[in-house]
Symmetry: C2
Subunit: 490 residues, 2 copies
């Protein structure tokens, strides 16, 4: 098959869009800003979801499900939350349609207007904290450690598949605690879970840090984040964990009897990752031939392609291939035997490269004579011939090697595209080349905004591991105690 995708160098943004569509991951739908996640894309998301779900459960969380709709008035309860979330959203005003009086189609029934409009959840803090009020009376009811897998809607004006869509899939953790310390610990625990997932499963190194006040979640006292670098040098926020203090407990009047017998507001956190991670996964590793997937998240680990001229050669090949397939499956690998007779091997090779299947095995007549197979790895495109009886060992070793290699490659890329500067002119120059810049900042929102206006760069985070270092703000020259991470971002 012809891959027909533009190269990253020519147009990175177009490369991404074409890749998502041509690799069969997602498509735009008939509904503005909403995507269709196609089976192959959904299979990758399922792998991510299942692994994250296990990590949440291992850290003591349970799943639950809260309503899709939120009464409009709930959003007004938490002052900063309403500013951040209630504005661009889908509003349900009616609950019935009727046949059009002119007999053509259907129209909204004006008699079925809701007393109070319902908002399709953009995030669920409000409805969940309204529920927690009934669940929490005493310290014995705490902590509550709940996660929800759900769809949410934010009416984005400019959308891009996976990266920014009106509807997206995500998980949102909402926890309730008796003390400030416990809630802070939870906030940290979950940003670390996200970081481990990104690095160990997605193969993407991330910077852990704290958001500036400006970039904080609406309603949070502190937002922790992980930031990843894409191949164009831009940053992508890959997960956030929020310390909400007692804001939502106050807004929804959720108090508990402490161990000491006093009444106090409950402490809260929330944390989430979304199908946006799909965008990060695609952009971090893929190349001009298509997707490159980490084996730990690949729906298919190995594809086996038989090479033959005449149909009658196939049974002999199958006799060698099917036992190999079973052996690989016994190792826990998902193996596809691509015996389609409607397309040529070259077409299959290109298609499997486009779809990022980590390892391809080809078996042809010469292999039959020599007792060999050809094994190709997707990340480096290297291929080698091995004795058939070594194939299982080679492939299982390759799974680890590929997982390791794409992480290493992404880490090297990030290292060579991260620099620091103390000059605003150089800062602007460096930004044009792309990448992360560690620079001093005076801590004011005003400065942050001016830099953003002038350069389109934002402070991605104040990294947890940024060392104390006296310096001067690159814009204002005012004193600064540590460098922060600047970048242009998705």
């Amino acid at each position: 098959m012809s891959k027909g995708i533009i190269s990253r160098k020519e147009n990175y943004s177009q490369w991404y869009n074409e890749l998502v569509v041509k690799a069969g991951l997602a498509d735009n739908s008939a509904v503005r800003g909403c995507m269709v996640i196609k089976p192959y894309g959904y299979a990758i998301w399922e792998k991510m979801r299942d692994r994250l779900d296990q990590m949440f459960k291992e850290t003591g969380h349970e799943n639950a499900y809260f309503p899709l709709f939120i009464p409009k008035s709930f959003f007004s309860r938490e002052a900063s939350h309403v500013e951040g979330f209630a504005k661009e959203c889908a509003v349900v005003t009616h609950y019935r349609l009727k046949n059009s009086p002119d007999g053509k189609g259907i129209v909204v029934d004006d008699d079925a207007r809701l007393e109070e409009e319902l908002i399709v959840r953009p995030t669920s803090e409000t409805i969940i904290w309204n529920t927690y009020r009934d669940w929490i009376q005493s310290y014995r009811d705490l902590p509550i450690l709940i996660n929800q897998w759900a769809n949410v809607v934010r009416w984005e004006m400019r959308t891009r598949l996976f990266l920014r869509t009106a509807e997206f899939l995500w998980q949102e953790g909402h926890t309730a605690h008796a003390t400030r310390d416990e809630a802070m610990e939870e906030t940290e625990r979950m940003i670390n879970v996200y970081a481990s997932f990104a690095e160990q499963y997605m193969g993407i190194p991330v910077i852990r840090g704290i958001k500036t006040a400006n970039e904080r979640f609406a309603g949070a006292l502190e937002t922790y984040c992980i930031e990843a670098m894409m191949q164009d040098g831009k940053a992508l926020q890959a997960g956030t964990s929020h310390f909400l203090g007692q804001n939502f407990a106050r807004a929804f009047d959720v108090k508990f009897a402490t161990r000491e017998g006093t009444l106090d507001y409950v402490w809260a956190t929330s944390w989430g990752v979304s199908t946006r991670l799909m965008g990060a996964l695609i952009m971090a590793h893929s190349d001009d031939n298509g997707l490159v997937l980490p084996p730990k998240l690949a729906p298919i680990h190995v594809v086996i392609v038989p090479i033959y001229q005449k149909q009658e050669q196939l049974p002999a090949l199958e006799e060698k291939i099917l036992p190999l397939k079973r052996e690989l499956e016994a190792k826990g690998l998902t193996v596809k035997f691509d015996d389609r007779d409607t397309v040529k091997p070259g077409f299959k090779f290109a298609e499997h490269e486009l779809r990022g299947i980590p390892v391809r095995i080809a078996v042809g007549p010469r292999d039959m004579e020599n007792g060999t197979v050809e094994i190709a790895r997707r990340d480096t495109l290297e291929k080698n011939v091995y004795p058939m009886n070594e194939a299982v060992g080679v492939v299982t070793r390759l799974m680890d090697e590929i997982q390791e290699n794409i992480y290493r490659k992404a880490l090297d890329f990030r290292s060579s595209n991260t620099c620091q500067t103390d000059s605003y002119d150089e800062f602007k120059e460096l930004l044009e080349r792309g990448g992360f810049i560690m620079a001093h900042w005076d801590g004011s929102t005003e400065t942050e905004n001016r830099i953003k206006e002038e350069t389109k760069a934002t402070i991605r985070c104040i990294p947890f591991d940024a060392p104390e270092e006296e310096g001067k703000c690159i814009l204002t020259g005012k004193p600064s105690k540590r460098r922060v991470l600047f970048a242009r971002a998705y």
Copy 2:
């Protein structure tokens, strides 16, 4: 703990509502008709979902995800579908809120009115077939075997937790085929998958059959269903599989090039089960002490309760209990060690009964002396003392026995509450007692409707296995070829 639920005999409907809430399965929310599925309820749903998902994949299906919103005009395309679905639904008319001019709260921004209203999906045939048009050109693109796990909304006026809620969770399969026969086969395959799941996992015997024209899915040529009997003798439709013919392909202009080179409309099926199954599960097996769960769907299989007077006795008990717990877990069982020191064993016993944990193990000082444990099964409430070293064997055997027993019990109940009659007067009498009635019907919608008006009984289905038998319609006396299944239903 005091269970505080009314008995089934006193008030079956109230018993159900109280049980759902008190066992921690679900709660009503602040949004009319929408429920909160609590962690324990959601854990059961996850077990059901995961098992069904595996069965779908084993029969060749893949998951995908389509938009939550459907343009209003899509519903008008399929004539009978619009009548069935587009009427009572949530309508999104605006995409923005703004601060109220009076400074109090937020209001809908009239400048942000959608050109075309969006409907929150009540089911997804329309948006999916609109998408399939782009996916299908030739017979080589077929079949498409896709399933979606999603939330849907139907604006129900009278709602009940799990059984009928405005928003519910479900899966909807949507397949596309080149031939009528293949689509019919798929329709049958999936009703059989549902039946196997209901019987083998939920422990609920079901009648498989065909719906009458009246009860058919809006837009289907044929609807297959499975019908289960609840403990009050009423029927509950537990799953449906629809043969949609070429209706949706025509409505959305989905044609394909056949192998012979002609153009034809694509054949369709759709099939679904929902969180309604939770209602069926609860009502089929539970008793006046609380839930009774089939081991295959129980989130916790075994609870171990230590019995002691003084705190200092606990360590010695733990020394016996923890190895037992590990041994049971090694058998694949989920085991909870309930070592709370804030409540008494009696309270714990009642709570675990309420929550339907299949097996309870109690270990006290006397057991320590004798090397024994007390094992109680939830379904029969029997308890016996066994030597500690037999405990693992007893418990694993009990898992199978309980699964088998609750199915057998439900089957016996259904048998003794199913009868046949040829007299309309007796029919009405039998209905008052509850249960299924096999009776002759003349095949007309008019008769069906009259019986429904007069008795509140509906034709649940024409069972697949109903033998041919000449008879006369119980209402009209007109000729009939086989008995159909009548019952009052949820």
